[in-house]
Symmetry: C3
Subunit: 315 residues, 3 copies
């Protein structure tokens, strides 16, 4: 399926959906970060911005963590949040995805939060629903996870101030990671100096050369003198494909206190969570002074509030 990256904009080039990082401008990204920053600096945790709006979560793939952040973001904006229990839903009765979303549209839902194991599903839904509905991509297949990338950009800005002079390394299974793809797109739009990707060769995409990144099979070389290290979550089910055992992975790519010394002293270490301690990252690092992992979680709520709120403002 060819994905239309412009689908998320209305005629005035404003976001009406949030489906992918590609085709966003620096201004789009900064507008979201600035709004998230306003929410986070506000003393209150409760806003009336989305009162009377209905947000429906459609998680075809289970995820407590991401779903909870969207539920919290919705409730803090005073929206009504409805969790559609796909597992027990009329999917059982043979209703197609299309009929399901048309039905939710007819129920006057205003926004769908969609996670699906097939790349492009949120785009498909966004294309099929009427103009009143907005769709947010909460992760589609191995394609994109744009709200995760946005919260990561906000985290970096918070700690590093600006992007232009940064060297950033992404470590892990780039090939299958939707987070990695959205991260690389974001970092390039924000004009970071250098992006390194690190991991076993057979967990790298074929088109490395076209990505505008540098590949390293060696962790210490790949994080040499960098400002930001983003660890990816190890999907144990991918290890077989990569012919690599958990032990070998840890020995080669597990981030330890020792290895982190190759990076700058004030390097920040990020991870989308949940962490596999002792596999992709040591507890000493995950809980250490360079880790901003829990910071990512906190800004994850306000970034989602900002994206949701902005889309309604653009209507």
């Amino acid at each position: 399926m060819k994905i239309d990256y412009n689908l998320q904009f209305n005629k005035n080039n404003k976001l009406q959906h949030f489906l992918n990082i590609e085709n966003l401008s620096k201004e789009h990204i900064n507008e979201i970060i600035d709004l998230a920053d306003k929410y986070i600096k506000n003393e209150s945790n409760k806003f009336k911005d989305l009162e009377g709006k209905t947000i429906a979560s459609l998680f075809f793939e289970p995820s407590t963590r991401t779903k909870t952040t969207f539920e919290l973001a919705s409730k803090r904006l005073s929206a009504d949040f409805i969790n559609i229990d796909i597992a027990n839903s009329s999917a059982l009765k043979g209703e197609s995805i299309l009929d399901m979303i048309k039905t939710l549209e007819a129920m006057e839902c205003d926004m769908f939060i969609v996670r699906h194991s097939s790349s492009g599903t949120p785009h498909y839904i966004a294309k099929e629903v009427g103009k009143k509905i907005s769709v947010i991509n909460a992760g589609d297949g191995i394609h994109a996870h744009p709200t995760q990338a946005m919260l990561d950009m906000y985290t970096i800005k918070k700690h590093k101030g600006s992007f232009e002079n940064l060297n950033v390394s992404i470590v892990g299974d780039i090939l299958h990671s939707r987070v990695a793809k959205s991260l690389i797109a974001s970092l390039k739009i924000l004009s970071v100096k250098n992006i390194n990707i690190i991991g076993p060769k057979n967990l790298m995409p074929e088109n490395i050369n076209e990505l505008g990144v540098d590949y390293f099979s060696n962790l210490e070389k790949g994080i040499d003198n960098v400002d930001v290290i983003i660890m990816l979550r190890l999907q144990q089910e991918r290890m077989k494909e990569a012919f690599i055992s958990t032990e070998d992975y840890y020995n080669n790519y597990g981030l330890t206190k020792q290895k982190i010394m190759s990076a700058k002293k004030d390097v920040i270490v990020m991870h989308p969570g949940p962490i596999n301690r002792g596999i992709e990252i040591d507890s000493e690092v995950a809980d250490g002074p360079n880790s901003v992992i829990l910071d990512q979680v906190t800004v994850g709520i306000s970034i989602r509030m900002a994206i949701m709120s902005l889309i309604f403002k653009n209507k």
Copy 2:
């Protein structure tokens, strides 16, 4: 179990529960439709009518779609909505339905939304709870689905203006359909001109003659010159009993663009959903100009808001 159809009225003949269509007057029905119409025409989707009230959903039979409409209706009226997870509930611990509802009553819930596979369960619960609690029947066995019938009446009124001159056909498994029973009762109270029921003979009730309807085994004859066609959902598990294959059913009773030409040009086509496309109805018809299926979904929220709100006004 003999069902008491007057159980839903208080001493002033006002609704205190909503359990069945039988014994409603034209005035009862029109009062609900008129209130639903007010909600739908209001620009806002958020009302304070049920603020401080607690609505508990008790779905002993799973149903994402109907439960979601009640959840949305509750939230749009600012009620607190509690979903009692029956599957994981103390039913496991041997608590009887009666103890469960007495407990929820003691928790000062104000209304129960009940779906159960046994006919009469909502009536049983309504009889057992105290006067402060109201019960809404969200579908009981093969007996009744009164809120579905009410939203269907509202849909018909919206498109046809009045009921007296209408010819209405209901197509499918009348025998096992709780929707059909509530529909026939509604249409008779509203004095439609003619009601046809259509389907294989062995999916028809034995007492057809007492129903005041006309039976047709042939679809095209049964929808000849009618104003409204209501398709029922095919329960695949019933096909065996009816000795009819899905193919045969489609060939005989599947609503196609061709067959619909027997009806009036401005016939409206309805279906409670979810649709079995290509079995009981063709996509050309379901998505075509005569279909009001998504309209039914939309008014389904405001009808439920109206019923809930009216019951609290009657207290």
Copy 3:
């Protein structure tokens, strides 16, 4: 694991968590009961006390009933309530409890409601989270169920006025009952005259003598002339350990209309629910004039509202 019973107090000896009855003062208990009483006497069921606060339920052990009371209490105080679906959560992805609570803390949850099959888990969590988060123990292993004990104390006070002259009997499996332990602690703090525990010897704790209670193997002797009888729920899985059949249990310890005549005429009969009718208690008693079982359920909401609300006031 050694449990620190002082963990729940801040420097001013005010509750910042609610983990156990032990170490509470009479004043602590009365403050909660008085606040619950205010909530229950208020005509409204909706308060703004926790607006903008986020309450997360972490039920590692399933419980519809207790979880529902906390959900209702949260909503009636206008808090945002988030149910963390542990079964489907990232527990599956190997995330430890500690990482999960740190993540929820980073999401700026304000309070965790914790039930766990291991004694001491809520204390462990309370110790690990930062000062902004409060933890309420909704039942841990065979150790404590302090909110149940508090609602029982409120129920007793409502019906008996004061505690000092009361004779109270607790009947059932004291050994494995977290409710019993919290009850005995509460009753002693409130200086009741006498506490009897009744049940098969092999369902009694070894340290009976240290508990400051009187043990009776005979029900009628144990409830002779008492003011309050608290029945415990029979855990069928414990019967094997106790070498006692359900029939024998009923014959010896099932509370019948006949046996209750040993107690005072105005004795109140309590049970935490759900009830095993015909095993530990007869319907004639459970639904009879001495039963205050449904009263317990009602005050259970306001007690939880009071505890939650008080903790936020103490911040």
